[in-house]
Symmetry: C2
Subunit: 262 residues, 2 copies
DNA sequence: CGGCACGTTGAAGTGACTCAATTCGCGTGG
DNA sequence: CCACGCGAATTGAGTCACTTCAACGTGCCG
């Protein structure tokens, strides 16, 4: 018999609330009451070291992960033991909101570097959504954008050549990293070439060759766990990267980009 | 300048409401009031012939697609004009709910055979969700299950060999087709081998060889747009298919126990 | 009956994979 | 401070599988 766990040690925390409010505000317009309600969500903060999992395939969590610092990777574990990475998550992400409504985890979330995260009580999030529908609508967007990223990953891994695949991954990670942040020519991507292979459906050798190609043509590089953008334009061209799928529009900002193609 | 379209011709329709209620009920427990509210959603019914699109990449729809009959396919159109299929949708699916919260379509939905569909007014769905949170919670599950299917597609197209890929696709389509329905050894899949290639990231020749292999080993076949299951067990084994990701569990947490704590 | 799209099959090319050896980077311990 | 060790990156060689190309067969619809 399964017993509900009392929310021991879960308390509202300013640091978490601040970030949660700003994350939510990115997805919708919030009233003062909305903000106040968000600040009532109880959380527990913890840390993970490289390779540790925040949630595991098969779990039935009572909390949702909110990433404060570091990078998480979502992955499937195959019967053979092989790993397929599905998406990457940065500080400010809620990679786990789906667990509010789908009880059993069909994948895991593991730390790619040292990670700080908050666990938010499902029960608090549910009542937040009920009491503050505006917040609910904003939160609804989060897993929908994740889904758009999954779709793009299908296309990337199925229809693009190795070099374009890697270029597209770089574009996505870089674009998401610096969304609104000061211009910088680099961003973190703490993964080995073998792990990149497990993202893109390629061998580590192919990753290496693709990376070498991007270096040679002077569009991007990867060193010490950081993506270095050498020529953004050429990288975007190489990847056929179109950030539309990241749905930056908040409510109804116009994404002007005529659709072409057949 | 874009002008909001008046909901001309949109009316509640029993046929649509019936199906919508039962679809929603599959994702949560509904009260009588919930059912009544769902029945108030206005819809317009239309038909598509093979190859026509229900929604296109770049659109900013004011309605959500509800599939009554036939099969829809979600796809990306690449700059080269190539097509990458992302997911398939069967009668009863709401493949388009995301458009409620993400204004611009990042993909298209096209008909694989003759299709009947209803278009549901976003405005009605939004107020339904506001007025009936229980229904909102049930609807929330729909795109989340879609996302789980996307994740599985990433793994399928990136980490499995051609024969396993095809087998997995067959398993998924068959499993979803007959969810709860009378036992049958076949189900529709109205796609050419070339199109299957565009789902699985393979050439049409590879699809043909993989299909031949499945035939030879007596696990499944595809004829006249129908999957024929010859040996379900062996097909499942070949595909390493685990239906967990389809999240068949109707979520008891939400509807039956409002929320605890607080 | 004719056309066209799709399925089937064979053959050849190529690109990604595996295997293997060497180097590099960095943290540890002497 | 330097030697060592280990994981990761780099590089080359050879194999294999998927792709492309091309020809032919088949079934369906006008």
């Amino acid at each position: 018999m399964r017993v509900a766990i009392m929310p021991e040690g879960y308390v509202p925390r300013d640091e978490v609330s601040d970030l949660l409010v700003s994350k939510t505000a990115r997805h919708g317009t919030l009233t003062a009451a909305d903000r106040a309600a968000i600040r009532g969500v109880r959380a527990k903060v913890s840390e993970l070291s490289v390779g540790q999992d925040a949630v595991r395939q098969g779990d039935r969590p009572e909390v949702a992960v909110f990433l404060l610092d570091g990078m998480l990777a979502r992955y499937h574990t195959l019967p053979t033991g092989d790993r397929q990475y599905l998406s990457l998550h940065l500080a400010g992400d809620l990679p786990d909101l789906q667990s509010l409504f789908l009880t059993t985890m069909d994948h895991s979330l593991g730390a790619l570097n040292r990670v700080r995260l908050a666990r938010l009580l499902h029960s608090d999030l549910r009542s937040l959504i009920l009491k503050r529908p505006g917040v609910g609508f904003a939160l609804w967007r989060v897993p929908l954008v994740d889904a758009a990223i999954f779709r793009q990953a299908i296309t990337n891994n199925s229809a693009r050549e190795p070099v374009a695949r890697l270029a597209h991954l770089f574009c996505e990670v870089f674009h998401r990293s610096r969304a609104g942040i000061a211009p910088d020519r680099s961003c973190p991507l703490p993964m080995s070439q073998a792990q990149l292979g497990q993202i893109l459906g390629l061998s580590s050798i192919s990753i290496h060759r693709a990376l070498t190609a991007l270096r040679k043509e002077g569009s991007a590089d990867l060193r010490k766990g950081r993506i270095e953008i050498l020529d953004w334009r050429s990288l975007v061209r190489r990847a056929a990267f179109d950030p539309l799928y990241l749905h930056p529009e908040k409510d109804s900002v116009i994404a002007q980009r005529p659709f072409r193609g057949r």
